[in-house]
Symmetry: C2
């Protein structure tokens, strides 16, 4: 079982109201000087080995389903499993 | 400007309906053999240097605000910025 992680974040030029809300809440709680952007993290357990073909598929899946590429960037990476 | 990343994922023993929905949708789109769990990713830009004290604060903030520790695990890590 291998694990692939897909990180999806709002593009830099896109407003991020969730992140803004979190930043504001942190300030009110006394945590100053932190600017937060909020995105999504998908942990994907892959049956069998993670070949280049499999990674390509996951890249396609991320583009089609996991991220809205109009407003979000995504990154696919293989994570070492202990 | 340094960047700290907080990953928040549903605990292993907790059902993850979002992840289940994504897994099902991937299967219907023809991507078989993938099991997805969905969590959140927070990218935090820190003013100044990331000292151990600062990291401790962010850890507290993650515990109080970013994660619901009853049902979610979180991990804090410093990310290299190019």
């Amino acid at each position: 079982m291998a694990r692939v992680v897909v990180d999806v974040m709002p593009k830099a030029e896109i407003l991020d109201p969730q992140g803004k809300a979190v930043t504001g809440a942190l300030q009110r709680l006394g945590f100053a000087g932190l600017a937060v952007r909020q995105g999504k993290r998908f942990e994907i357990e892959v049956d069998g080995e993670v070949t280049d073909e499999r990674l390509g598929q996951i890249h396609d899946a991320a583009e089609k389903l996991l991220a809205n590429t109009v407003i979000e960037d995504f990154a696919v990476r293989v994570e070492e499993t202990a």
